[in-house]
Amino acid sequence: MNAILRGGVYGRCLTRSLLSSQCVPLRASSSIPSEAFFEKQKALKRPLSPHLSIYKPQLTTVLSISHRISGIGLTAVVYGMAIGALASKGQFPECIAAIQAAHVSQAIIIPTKFLTSSAFFFHFYNGIRHLCWDMGLGFTIKELYLTGKIVVVLSAVSAAYATFML
């Protein structure tokens, strides 16, 4: 799904047109589509092909976009911590003490911990999977699904351990 999002609608049209035999007459100098090309396509008012909605969610695509979503979520936490450190006058232990004094319910703390740790562990394990791909390993469909399932199970177990045992 991530790959599809990256390609985008125009990207996919472009790829398809380039791959078809019609692309052969293109000269190197004119091979980059100009703004006029896109204006012309828009003016034709062709029906827009549905894109993301027509795909059945698969483990591969769902994990791919989840990697980005978890990355964005974890980034937000780090951004918040860093900017909070710059903006606030107090020290961190005071902040922790304030939270303790507020007697925040475990019904809020436990889901927070589970959500953060599952995002972290998923991004961690799936990141290793990504680095393996970057080395050219694990590209068969069978391996993709197997490693995907391993990542999901490991993340769930690790997040549960971190939430309830640490």
């Binding site: 990207g11 380039l18 780090v78 860093a82 900017i83 710059l86 961190f92 939270i99």
Partner: protein
Amino acid sequence: MSLLIRAMPRTALLRASILKSQPCLSALAKRESSTGNHTPLWTAERAVSAALIGVTPLALAMPNPATNFLLSLALTAHIHWGMEAIAVDYVRARVVGSVLPKLAMGAVYGLSFATLGGLMYFNFTDVGLANAILMFWKL
């Protein structure tokens, strides 16, 4: 072939070899990459990601100024490149106009500098990043 290219937009070497065998795809390479050799940057991104696999558990197991410094530096670089890729992929000039992509990229750089500064400030004047995570986890 197009699927392969879209699935791994940043694997420069692989793409280069595919493009060589498919002359009509060279337009894609031209469109997607600016000038210059991006291989060292790509390698640096992976090196920092790989380093974080070790640095993150190390900092949490042994929180001290050295591990906090390493973690903050590597994490900020990793976050910067990740958010940059997201801005490039989703805030595209052809879709949102020419102003927003520049704003998004500016925001990525601004946030990255603020993050590096904030984390280093936190490490030097407060309990440090790894200790803060451990203290939060005890709640």
